[in-house]
C-alpha cells in the first residue's frame, strides 16, 4: 500500500499531462486562442476553489488564505498563459504530438541546467555534461 502512495502522484502527473496534450491539440482553431484560454483558466479556478473547500482543514476563509500569498502565483499565472499559448501554437503550426512536447521538455531541461550553473552556482559534473550531450544529440535526431 505504501508503494501505491509513492507511485500515485506519478500516475496522476502522467495521466493529466497526457490529457493536457490531447486537449491542447483538440483546441478549436476557428476562434481567438485567448478566448479559449479564458475557459481553460475559469475551469481551473472553479476546480481550485472546490478543492480548497474539500481540503480546508484549518477552517480559514478562502479570502484570508488568498491574502497570505506572495509574488509567485502571479508570475506563475502569467507564465502558464505564455506556455499554454505556445503549446496550442505548437500543434497549429504542425508539430507532431509524439515529438513536440519531448523536444520542448528537453530544451527546458538544458536551459534550467544553464540557469542553475549561472544564477544559482550549481556544480556542472561530468554526468551532467554527458546528459547535455545526449539530450542535444536526441534533439538533433528528433528533428531530422
Amino acid at each position: 500500500m505504501e508503494k501505491f502512495y509513492y507511485y500515485a502522484p506519478v500516475i496522476l502527473i502522467v495521466v493529466f499531462e497526457a490529457s493536457y496534450q490531447i486537449a491542447a491539440k483538440g483546441m478549436p482553431s476557428a476562434n481567438n486562442i485567448f478566448a479559449n484560454l479564458v475557459w481553460v483558466y475559469l475551469t481551473s479556478a472553479v476546480l481550485s476553489v472546490a478543492l480548497f473547500f474539500a481540503t480546508n482543514k484549518s477552517g480559514g476563509s478562502l479570502m484570508s488564505e488568498m491574502s497570505g500569498t506572495n509574488w509567485a502565483p502571479f508570475v506563475l499565472g502569467t507564465s502558464i498563459v505564455g506556455f499554454e499559448f505556445g503549446f496550442v501554437m505548437l500543434y497549429r503550426v504542425g508539430w507532431e504530438m509524439s515529438v513536440g512536447s519531448t523536444f520542448c521538455n528537453m530544451l527546458v531541461a538544458l536551459l534550467l541546467i544553464a540557469i542553475g550553473a549561472l544564477v544559482y552556482k550549481d556544480q556542472i559534473t561530468f554526468s551532467k555534461l554527458l546528459g547535455v550531450a545526449l539530450c542535444a544529440g536526441g534533439l538533433f535526431f528528433l528533428n531530422r
Binding site: A45, L47, T55, T69, E84, T102
Partner: protein
C-alpha cells in the same frame, strides 16, 4: 521561423514557471495560491484577447469553443496537484521529474500512434532514446 516560435515561447515561459513554482508560499493553503494563479491567468488571457486580432466580441468568441478548454483546465489542476503530491510523498526533485518526463514521452508516442496515426521514423525513435538516457545522466 514560425515553426520554432512556439518552441521558444514554451521554453521561455516554462523557465519563468519553474522559478515562480520554487517561490510559491508554503504557509497558507496550496489551493488558495492556485486560485490566485488561475485568476491571474484568466485576467492575462482577457488582456491578450483584446491585444490580438479577433473578429467578434469576447463573449461571442468564447461561445465558439469545444470540449478541449474544459479538459485542459481540469488537466492543469490535476498536474499541479500531482507535482505537489510527488514531492510530499518523498520523491527527489530530479528523479521524480525525470521519471514523469520519460513515462510521458512513451505515453505520447502511444497516443500519437493510436489516435492520430502518427508514425515515428527510426531517427525520431533514436532521438527519444537519446533524450531519455540524457535526462537520466542530467539528474544523477
Amino acid at each position: 521561423m514560425y515553426y520554432f516560435l512556439p518552441v521558444v515561447m514554451v521554453v521561455a515561459f516554462n523557465t519563468f514557471y519553474q522559478v515562480a513554482a520554487k517561490g510559491m508560499p508554503s504557509s497558507n493553503s496550496t489551493f488558495a495560491n492556485i486560485v490566485c494563479v488561475y485568476l491571474t491567468a484568466t485576467t492575462a488571457s482577457v488582456v491578450m484577447f483584446f491585444a490580438t486580432e479577433h473578429t467578434g466580441s469576447l463573449l461571442s468568441e468564447i461561445r465558439q469553443t469545444n470540449w478541449a478548454p474544459f479538459v485542459l483546465g481540469v488537466s492543469v489542476v490535476g498536474l499541479e496537484y500531482g507535482f505537489i503530491l510527488l514531492y510530499r510523498v518523498g520523491w527527489k526533485m530530479s528523479l521524480g521529474s525525470t521519471v514523469c518526463s520519460i513515462l510521458l514521452a512513451l505515453v505520447m508516442i502511444a497516443v500519437g500512434a493510436l489516435f492520430y496515426r502518427e508514425r515515428l521514423s527510426l531517427s525520431q525513435i533514436c532521438g527519444i532514446v537519446f533524450c531519455a538516457v540524457g535526462l537520466f545522466f542530467l539528474n544523477r
